[in-house]
């Protein structure tokens, strides 16, 4: 069980986190951006699990549950908002939502 060093777990989490981050940066579709953020949150959850497993504590997993809750809440609000935006702008292009600047 303890054969997997924590570095590897954290590295995996880091890579997933960065992939999500890249996606947020390069995607213009708002839904994609939301998905990417979910990937990042998932990666952060993974990091907690890894750490929790390292310390053999349930705390990491509990944090994961909380992250899960938050992700769910956020996705629901986010999707509702995206629907709203789509109604307004007739597009999912995040760059189109740039009325406010300067």
């Amino acid at each position: 069980m303890t054969t997997i060093p924590m570095e590897y777990g954290l590295l995996l989490a880091g890579m997933l986190f960065m992939l999500g981050l890249i996606s947020v940066l390069i995607r213009r579709n708002i839904i994609f951006m939301l998905i990417s953020v979910e990937i990042m949150l998932n990666a952060a959850g993974l990091a907690f699990i890894v750490a929790g497993s390292h310390w053999a504590q349930p705390d990491g997993q509990i944090m994961f549950i909380f992250i899960l809750t938050m992700a769910a809440a956020e996705v629901s609000v986010g999707l509702a908002l995206i629907l709203q935006i789509y109604h307004q702008l007739k597009t999912l292009n995040s760059d189109a939502a740039n009325f406010m600047k300067g």
Partner: protein, 484 residues
């Protein structure tokens, strides 16, 4: 969870109950006024319940929460601010076509989140409090969903906040990985062994700063602030500017004081850079801005920079200064956005500079209140902002943060320019030919809430500006005993 635990969580319980009651009331029948009254009363009741906790000392609800003088004061501050904002909201939303009732529920929820933040002593409660606050804010910002700008602001805040939350979480995970605990005290204990932070923990802290910095809207995580301020309804903007930031700052202070993060030059350097950059960028961005809400947004960025100066002082005086300044800043910001809200109409918020031209001659009292608020932001005597700024400078000088203090002084001057520019516009002579039609007025009873709130705020502003020792006493009394 024991009964004493519940007693100590009374303010939060009251708010939670209020949320539930509100939902039930909506289920029965929608009524703006009732919702408003429930909200206001619950804020008041929650605030009143704080008086029981005056001499709480340090009560912990393991492992998540700690209730101490610091927390009580911050909760009180948050509750009062939320109360004032809810009072301002009434007239504002009365004019809107949108459904009004959910707003109050979300406001209550967001306030709960902020309260949890300032009494949390564990990453889990920190995270949950922050997310309750944030998720409520998503909806609050986009509340006027028929407005494009409101939606735009909402989605920007949502994506960015979630994005930064991910950073925060990842940072927490790293810290947890490094120390094996998520409690502040545990982390502090783990850290106490090190003179230099281990890299893993440093990385964790770094990523956490990204998340926290975003919520505080300090440079370089500030870019959302003006757009969100502009897009959100004026009372919500006030809420973001005050309660949300105050809560985050509260937990930041608690965490940093607990782990004594000021020992580590890397962290101090990061915060110093962030503070200076915030002051500079905030003020410079606001300089020629023509949108009042954006001006206030940029100015809030700068003010967070100022607050970080006192925060960096890292001693008890610094904490007091931050707290005092927050009080002043809350009053001022709520007052300013209150004026914006009051002047707003059905179509749009009163956010263009043009809306304020010659305001003094049209609505002298509103203009006077706004002027007082702006002068307070600028740190001019007779206002709370002056004493606050003085306190920050004193804290900075005391710890000999000369660079920061001088930057603060110079930046205040830049800041002064746009505040008095706004004042000057209000004081301009009205042009004879453009007779400004007073906007359709609401029933006086509805206005009363706004006017009363603004009056209270203005009086408080001047009172604290002239006689700060009362507030000081409270702050010192509550914080002295509990700052670790």
């Amino acid at each position: 969870m024991t009964l004493t635990d519940f007693q100590h969580l009374m303010p939060l319980l009251i708010l939670t109950v209020a949320v539930l009651v509100s939902m039930l009331v909506i289920a029965v029948g929608r009524n703006h006024k009732i919702m408003y009254v429930i909200t206001a009363v619950s804020f008041l009741a929650a605030f009143a319940s704080l008086f029981d906790l005056r001499d709480v000392g340090r009560y912990t609800i393991e492992p998540l929460l700690v209730i101490d003088g610091f927390g009580v004061f911050y909760i009180g501050m948050i509750l009062l601010t939320a109360l004032l904002i809810s009072m301002l909201s009434y007239a504002y939303f009365e004019q809107r076509e949108e459904r009004k009732e959910e707003y109050y529920i979300l406001l209550l929820l967001a306030t709960i989140g902020a309260c949890v933040l300032v009494i949390s002593k564990h990453f889990a409660s920190l995270f949950l409090g922050l997310e309750i606050l944030t998720v409520s804010l998503y909806a609050l910002i986009a509340y006027l969903r028929t407005r494009e700008r409101s939606d735009e602001a909402g989605i920007k805040y949502l994506i960015l906040a979630a994005f930064s939350s991910a950073f925060l979480l990842f940072g927490m995970a790293l810290v947890y990985a490094s120390t094996g605990t998520m409690e502040f005290a545990g982390i502090a204990a783990a850290m106490s062994g090190f003179t230099e932070l281990p890299l893993l923990m440093l990385t964790g802290f770094g990523l956490m700063i990204v998340g926290i910095g975003f919520k505080l809207s300090v440079v370089p995580f500030h870019m959302w602030a003006p757009d969100v301020y502009e897009g959100a309804p004026a009372p919500v903007t006030a809420f973001i500017a005050t309660v949300s930031k105050g809560g985050v700052l509260g937990v930041l202070i608690r965490f940093f004081m607990e782990v004594d993060g000021f020992r580590y030059p890397t962290l101090v350097l990061i915060f110093t850079i962030v503070a200076i950059a915030s002051m500079l960028a905030g003020n410079l961005l606001a300089l020629l801005q023509r949108n009042v809400k954006r001006i206030l947004a940029y100015s809030s960025i700068a003010h967070l920079g100022y607050l970080l100066v006192a925060f960096l002082a890292g001693n008890q005086m610094g904490v007091e200064a931050v707290t005092f300044y927050l009080v002043a800043y809350f009053i001022t910001t709520v007052g300013a956005f209150g004026v914006v809200a009051m002047l707003s109409d059905k179509e749009r918020d009163a956010e263009q500079l043009e809306d304020y031209r010659a305001l003094l001659w049209r609505r002298p009292w509103t203009a006077a209140v706004f002027t007082a608020m702006l002068l307070s932001l600028a740190g001019i005597p007779l206002t709370a902002g002056f004493v606050g700024k003085f306190y920050i400078l004193a804290a900075g000088v005391n710890t000999q943060l000369w660079l920061l203090v001088v930057m603060l002084a110079l930046n205040s001057v830049v800041g002064l320019f746009y505040y008095i520019r706004l004042v000057a516009i209000m004081f301009q002579q009205p042009e004879a030919d453009t007779e400004v039609q007073p906007r359709g007025k609401l029933r006086p009873s509805i206005y009363l809430a706004s006017v009363g709130t603004l009056t209270i705020l203005a009086l408080l502003l001047v009172y604290i500006g002239v006689y700060p020792s009362g507030l000081l006493q409270v702050i010192q009394g509550l914080i002295v005993s509990t700052v670790p």
